[in-house]
């Protein structure tokens, strides 16, 4: 198999993930898209590792070792990420990234304004 095939596939996967991260509104889907991007990188790592070992330039298979690392880290990352999304959803009643704008400039009603904001959000959801 030529090196171009896995490279193109990984590029497509990466672009799909990037689109998901930039465009999806649900936080869980954003996390899934992040996983896609990570796996695209993994694919690249494995493919180049094989190509390099064929050329006998790298016989330690460091690309594959790094892939294992990435998979482990990705598992931990998705665990924490999902826990955060769950906590946010419990707290706010929504996991919509467009609504989670507490860090925006001019968002001054820190503690005092939050309950009313949350109430307004719940009301908006109920009507929607």
């Amino acid at each position: 198999m030529h090196l171009a095939d896995p490279a193109v596939l990984s590029a497509l996967l990466f672009c799909t993930g990037l689109y998901g991260v930039l465009a999806r509104r649900n936080a869980i889907l954003v996390l899934m898209s992040v996983e896609l991007m990570l796996n695209a990188v993994n694919l690249n790592l494995v493919a180049f590792d094989v190509w390099l070992s064929k050329a006998a330039r790298d016989t330690l298979h460091s690309g594959q070792a790094l892939t294992l690392f990435t998979i482990a880290i990705a598992a931990a990352e998705i665990g924490i990420g999902l826990a955060i999304v769950l906590a946010v959803h419990r707290n706010r009643g929504t996991a919509d990234i467009d609504r989670l704008r507490d860090t925006a400039e001019g968002h001054e009603d820190g503690t005092a304004g939050t309950p009313t904001d949350a109430a307004a959000d719940e009301k908006a959801e109920a009507t929607a």
Partner: protein
């Protein structure tokens, strides 16, 4: 123990008493009174021992250098001659009396612990000034006294008068201390040492290059500390402090320091005739002006304050005619009777519930309420008016005798004009002194009108002290004038016939003039009722006094003046009375000359800082602020926008790297 060890302990004991008093004041209130009285008493005993050991013979000298300072050395030095030994005894004696008196006077005062500790510190600082043989160590004691006077004058800080007076006392004395410091440096540069002995020997060999400049600079500090014209204005206002503090400041410490300093370094001042004439004029103006002002004061303590200024003028005058023996003699006898006058005045104020002489003159029977204060104050006033055989007579005559000696030009280093100035002013002041002493006595103890209220007997600690002080007021001068020359320079201090007759005659004339005026005006007192007494006459003496001071201005419109047509001083002074009551408007003059320009300069600086400097700062901040506002718009709070921006940036960078790498 050697005499040197004892001498070191004299200033050290009150200092340790002050430190422990400050530390233990809150936790162990039972120890406060012993800690206040005992160290001072021990210092008195040790000072007496030192004086006996010294005995007017060779000066006790010792010095040690703690560490080299790189330039003119500063040493811990003792220099105890006859002057130092006797003045230290006076300081410790008056301080002991004041401490014992204060235990009764401020017996219910919640701030007594810190008060007593500060009085101890004050005493210790003065003893340091007296014994120190090094000018910088002397300066340390000098400045510690300044800060202690600030705290003690402001003891009743609830009243605005006390707050203003304490700041004024501090600022005015500091105004003199700055030139004083420069003068000390100039003196030490010429002499190559801060040691008193070295400085004096340098002066004796003519090694002083700028005697007039150094003398005048040092005189500024002396005028501030010793309340001489034109820096005397703080002293009458300092009456807002508690009476024992006034006694301490006026009799033994603080004001005595300036005169003592000049006495110790008199050869430095004698090196320039101009300085001696300035000293004489200063003393003369102070004497006469304060005598006139004292005649017009309504507050009993302000009368005594002006009288202190006047008596200090005598001492300055004696120094101006080159007789430091007479000056210190008058310092000693004045210390005794002025302390007595103040402490007795404290008793009178407590009993009368007011500090106003006008009100006292409308109260009868005050002398039966406080017989101890009445009799001792009579003794002290006779001493103040220099009536023989009281102690003030001998010391004042020694001053006048020295001035007369100088007029004939026989005194070395002293211009005859200085002698004439001091002699004439001294004689005029003798008349004025007797006049205001008589006025004080008549108004306070010979009043007619409502019976004085009875607040029970005064505490024993207060009345006993009065009698203890009455002994030196009565007898010190008569017994001491023969033996004192042995302690001092050896010049005779006995009164001469001419000045005795002149001085006593003028004093009698002054007293009789006031008595005659009083006989004429006393009937008017009944027609013009005046009255304002303290709100809590049954409280302790300190409370009554604080309330009396606070009530004077609202009741009479001024702290110093009362519109009393029955005042014999008013009859005598005529149109001058109003001006004399105000201290000849010197305060108003200083207000126009110094206070207002300083305030104006301060508001100018404030304007420059707020409006000019800050404008540049704000202007410099405007551009970053604008940029910041633009960047802030990017903070939408939407994470995906941020990631998009990140991606765009990455792409741009990647393209740039590619372009650079391919060399396009």
């Amino acid at each position: 123990m050697t005499t040197t060890t004892l001498a070191v302990l004299v200033p050290l004991l009150p200092f340790l008493g002050a430190v422990t008093g400050l530390l233990l004041g809150r936790t162990a209130p039972g120890f406060v009174r012993p800690l206040a009285v005992l160290p001072t008493l021990a210092a008195l005993a040790l000072a007496c021992t030192v004086a006996v050991d010294q005995g007017g013979g060779r000066a006790i000298e010792t010095h040690t250098e703690l560490t080299p300072t790189g330039s003119v050395p500063i040493e811990l030095a003792l220099y105890i001659d006859g002057f130092a030994a006797l003045v230290a005894v006076l300081v410790a004696f008056v301080a002991t009396c004041v401490q014992i008196y204060s235990t009764g006077y401020l017996r219910d005062d919640p701030r007594y612990p810190s008060y007593a500790a500060l009085v101890s510190l004050f005493t210790s600082a003065m003893l340091l000034v007296v014994y120190s043989g090094d000018l910088i160590v002397l300066l340390v004691g000098w400045e510690v006294m300044g800060i202690c006077s600030y705290f003690l004058v402001g003891h009743y800080w609830e009243t605005p008068e006390a707050r203003a007076a304490s700041i004024k006392a501090f600022l005015v004395t500091k105004l003199g201390d700055v030139p004083f410091l420069i003068g000390l440096f100039a003196l030490a540069t010429d002499a190559g040492s801060f040691r008193v002995t070295t400085v004096l020997s340098t002066v004796a060999h003519g090694g002083l290059h700028h005697p007039a400049l150094v003398g005048l600079l040092l005189l500024c500090g002396v005028a501030g500390k010793s309340a001489q014209f034109p820096l005397h204005t703080w002293l009458p206002d300092a009456m807002a402090g508690p009476t024992p503090v006034s006694a301490l400041i006026h009799a033994a410490t603080m004001v005595a320091a300036g005169v003592y300093f000049v006495a110790r370094l008199l050869p430095v001042f004698e090196a320039s005739a101009a300085v001696m004439v300035v000293l004489a004029v200063m003393g003369a103006v102070t004497m006469v002006g304060s005598g006139l002002a004292a005649l017009a004061q309504d507050d009993i303590k302000r009368v005594l304050a002006y009288s202190t200024i006047g008596q200090l003028g005598y001492m300055t005058g004696a120094l101006a005619v080159g007789d430091r023996g007479a000056a210190v003699f008058h310092l000693l006898s004045h210390g005794a009777f002025k302390a007595l006058l103040f402490l007795a005045a404290g008793v009178v104020i407590h009993a009368a519930g007011t500090n106003s002489l006008a009100v006292m003159s409308r109260t009868s029977g005050l002398r039966d309420r406080v017989p101890d204060a009445y009799w001792t104050m009579t003794v002290a006033l006779l001493a103040l008016a220099a009536i023989p055989p009281f102690s003030g007579f001998f010391s004042k005559e020694s001053v006048l005798g020295a001035a007369e000696h100088a007029t004939t030009g026989h005194a070395e280093h002293v211009p005859g004009s200085a002698g004439w100035i001091v002699l004439v002013a001294g004689l005029v002041t003798a008349l004025l002194t007797a006049a205001y002493a008589t006025r004080l006595w008549l108004l306070a103890f010979r009043g007619q009108g409502a019976e004085a209220p009875d607040h029970g007997r005064q505490p024993l600690s207060m009345t006993v002290v009065l009698w203890v002080l009455a002994v030196p007021s009565l007898a010190f001068g008569g017994f001491a004038y023969r033996s004192l020359p042995g302690w001092f320079d050896g010049r005779a201090l006995a009164p001469t016939l001419t000045t005795s007759v002149l001085g006593t005659g003028l004093a009698l004339i002054g007293g009789l003039l006031i008595y005659g005026a009083w006989l004429r005006t006393r009937t008017a007192a009944a027609r013009v009722p005046l009255g304002a007494v303290a709100a809590h006459p049954e409280g302790d003496a300190a409370l009554v006094e604080a309330e009396a001071i606070a009530a004077h201005a609202p009741a009479f419109g001024d702290v110093a003046y009362a519109p009393d047509p029955a005042d014999p001083g008013r009859a005598l002074l005529g149109p001058l009375h109003r001006h004399a009551a105000e201290g000849f408007h010197l305060d108003a003059l200083y207000d126009v000359l110094f206070v207002r320009p300083v305030l104006a300069a301060a508001s100018l600086v404030r304007f420059l800082d707020r409006e000019v400097v800050d404008t540049y700062v704000r202007g410099a901040g405007a551009l970053p602020r604008l940029l910041g506002a633009a960047v802030r718009r990017a903070q939408t709070g939407n994470v995906q926008t941020y990631v998009s921006a990140l991606l765009a940036g990455t792409v741009v960078l990647a393209v740039a790297v590619l372009l650079v790498a391919t060399g396009a």
